[in-house]
């Protein structure tokens, strides 16, 4: 209950701070809110855009939530997202299923590099996962300027994937079947964490690794497992974004979805089902920011600003809880 309150307050705080900034820039908050709602949920078209943006956010949010629940600080969803998409692109000629599976595997392997460094050299995963983001980003940059560049070699981007590998869309909308996969993953992770022994052991590792170890939990295995699942889900997010939305790779493909996943997970208080709601909130925030840019000439970075406010509010709540 308290966690829900914290989430709602954080979301409200984000909106309030944004409204205040709008006021400072000479816009009436009520007017801004109207524009924001129109741009995010006010029309079937806007709603579609919000949902399509929410799909990668849901998956990267889940990725971060699983890792954080196990006490593993995976800040590398961005890199895992990119690597997952790259792998999916390479595997696309073998069909949709192959591409999706390969994207999961690639993300898991990419994240597991950080696990290996942690156990081999004691390198903290907070650092290694962030650094691996840059490695992934430059790997993508090299690929779209080199071996994977489109055949006519005009732009730094790939050719589109074969249409047989694209995720099917619903009718004439931009909504694609990735939403089904994302929701299934969400429910599966919820059941895993809350209803299975391994999930329980993973959470225990996150709360108190020492006590978990005395209770017979193989803590090393749990940490490695959490990292692999986390990376796999982020990789899948990248694969789905490629196969469902962009259909090709380019340098700015990831667009910060991996980093936004941290805000999504924190607003959801690391709960898989809560992630569903918070992904929609941040999806709406992004489409609203787009509309604000078009109609009110407010920079689209307000969406990022909103995320920051949410994270800070949640952290404030966290320390408040720790004190009582």
């Amino acid at each position: 209950m308290r966690r829900i309150v914290a989430g709602v307050v954080a979301a409200a705080a984000a909106i309030a701070v944004l409204a205040f900034c709008g006021l400072a820039l000479g816009h009436a908050p009520a007017e801004l809110l109207r524009v924001a709602i129109r741009g995010s949920v006010g029309s079937p078209f806007a709603l579609q855009g919000t949902i399509v943006k929410s799909i990668p956010l849901l998956l990267t949010g889940l990725s971060v939530a699983v890792a954080f629940r196990a006490g593993v600080w995976n800040i590398g969803a961005e890199g895992q997202f990119i690597v997952g998409a790259l792998a999916a692109f390479v595997a696309a000629p073998w069909g949709l299923t192959a591409a999706l599976i390969v994207s999961i595997a690639a993300g898991a392997v990419w994240a597991s590099i950080a696990t290996a460094l942690r156990f081999w050299r004691g390198a903290p995963e907070v650092l290694t996962t962030i650094l691996l983001n840059f490695v992934g980003l430059h790997l993508l940059g090299w690929a779209v300027n080199g071996p994977l560049q489109e055949r006519i070699a005009q732009y730094p981007q790939t050719d589109p994937i074969p249409s047989s590998a694209a995720l099917p869309r619903f009718g004439l909308t931009s909504l694609h079947a990735g939403i089904v996969i994302a929701v299934v993953v969400c429910i599966a992770l919820w059941i895993f964490l809350e209803r299975t022994t391994e999930g329980l052991r993973m959470r225990a590792t996150g709360f108190n690794a020492s006590a978990a170890q005395w209770a017979g939990v193989n803590v090393t295995l749990q940490i490695a497992g959490a990292m692999a699942i986390s990376g796999g889900v982020a990789g899948l997010a990248g694969g789905i974004e490629l196969l469902g939305v962009t259909h090709r790779l380019f340098e700015l493909f990831a667009a910060g979805y991996g980093y936004s996943g941290i805000a999504v997970a924190l607003l959801a208080q690391l709960h898989p089902i809560g992630t569903l709601v918070s992904a929609l909130f941040f999806g709406a925030l992004q489409t609203a920011a787009g509309e604000l840019q078009r109609s009110a000439n407010i920079s689209i970075t307000v969406a990022t600003f909103g995320q920051a406010v949410v994270i800070l509010t949640i952290i404030g709540f966290g320390s408040f809880r720790a004190r009582d």
């Binding site: 006590a211 209770a215 017979g216």
Partner: protein, 411 residues
């Protein structure tokens, strides 16, 4: 007398850290203050140094006090000279140090401890307190330090040395004091009597001390386990008990072994999780609620139900939860480390009952304890652990005769 403490009492919340402690000391004395962790040594020293105020009693110190803390209190980005100046309050401290322009972070642990000592004597104190000064030193560095202590004593300083190493204290001190549970329980004892006094065994005078050959060789740990038998391992804290329990945890197959860890609040259970979840960590989530409800009933855990957070249980009930989780699976081997530490009488009795019952069912029990009464009351055989080594098994009768010497490392 330089130092005169009379009837000092100090409490922290509900804990009595010091209770009616009196101590006086004159110039040239080196007083060894010995006791286990939590005996009140450091609190007493901080009162002498004026860092904390006693609740009752009087403190009289003639002159200044120098205090070398157990943990380094140096500014690592400052040079040696700057650290000395910081302590002495002048840029020309009365102590010289070789190459004083080196940064503290470049110094070895031995040099840092020397610098701490230099800081403490820079103010020319009449009373010098050293809190576990040798814990980070090599034997050679420690001997150096003792030499310095003797020099200071010869020049009229009164030195107070806190330690839990019996041999080292006897080697340097002119007088020794044993503290236990906030009181001074004995003065000027032999090494063996000191070990006994630290962990609370009555010293029985007039007993013949047979001079048997040393039994310090490491016993084969697998011989610890005999079905239906309770084997106790006793010793002064810090002699490898924690390492032994951890090693047994990591080597025994968890399916047939139960573990009661020494640090209950940190290692015993996940405080943030419910009773049912803590039990399910080991037994699995299937039927976890029903199992938890049954165990709450059987073990008499005072809880509102399986969903109560484990961290909100009282100490005794937390230990019951731990016993319930570990013993309900009918383990073949049970490793119990300090299973009754900090428990009230009733909970202690319950734990002992459960351990005896498990032994009767045929489990092999290893009881690692610093409570000798517990060891004598429960164990079929007793071994002493000293510096990580286990003695040969002793019968309780043999143990009451030899345990003190073995714990002090004299056999």
């Amino acid at each position: 007398m330089i130092l005169n403490l009379a009837h000092i009492r100090r409490t922290f919340g509900a804990t009595v850290a010091l209770d009616d402690v009196s101590l006086s000391a004159g110039p040239g004395e080196i007083i060894g203050i010995i006791g286990e962790n939590g005996a009140g040594k450091t609190t007493l020293m901080r009162i002498i140094a004026g860092e904390i105020v006693p609740d009752a009693g009087s403190v009289a110190v003639d002159g200044t006090v120098g205090f070398v803390h157990q943990h380094f209190m140096l500014v690592s980005e400052f040079t040696i000279a700057e650290n000395l100046a910081l302590a002495a309050g002048s840029m020309h401290p009365p102590v010289s140090f070789e190459r004083p322009r080196r940064l503290v972070r470049e110094l070895s642990v031995g040099e840092r401890s020397k610098l701490e000592l230099a800081k403490a004597i820079a103010g020319r104190p009449r009373v010098l307190i050293l809190d576990e000064p040798t814990s980070v030193l090599t034997p050679v560095e420690a001997e150096d330090l003792f030499q310095t202590m003797r020099l200071l004593a010869d020049s009229g300083t009164c030195v107070l040395l806190i330690s839990h190493k019996i041999r080292e204290v006897l080697g340097v001190a002119t007088r020794t004091v044993v503290m236990r549970r906030g009181r001074i329980v004995a003065e000027n004892l032999s090494a063996e009597a000191m070990a006994r006094a630290m962990v609370d065994v009555p010293v029985e005078p007039g007993r013949s001390r047979s001079n048997r050959t040393a039994s310090g060789r490491e016993a084969d740990e697998s011989r610890l386990y005999r079905p239906g038998q309770i084997a106790a391992i006793i010793g002064v804290a810090g002699n490898g008990q924690v390492e032994l329990a951890t090693r047994l945890r990591d080597t025994l197959a968890r399916a047939s072994a139960a573990h009661i860890p020494e640090d209950r609040t940190r290692d015993g259970f996940v405080a943030e999780m419910s009773i049912a979840e803590n039990i399910a960590l080991l037994a699995g989530v299937r039927g976890a609620r029903a199992r938890a409800a049954r165990l709450i009933e059987t073990y008499g855990i005072r809880a509102s139900g399986p969903e109560q957070r484990a961290g909100s249980l009282s100490g005794g009930n937390q230990q019951k939860l731990l016993l319930a989780r570990e013993l309900d699976r009918n383990p073949k081997i049970i490793i119990a480390a300090e299973p009754t530490r900090g428990l009230d009488f009733e909970s202690t009795r319950f734990v002992h009952q459960q351990l005896r019952a498990a032994a009767e069912r045929g489990a092999a029990i290893v009881l690692i304890t610093s409570d000798l009464d517990e060891a004598f009351a429960l164990a079929d055989e007793i071994r002493v652990i000293y510096r990580g080594r286990l003695s040969e098994p002793l019968t309780p009768a043999e143990a009451s005769e030899r345990a003190g010497r073995l714990m002090a490392g004299l056999e």
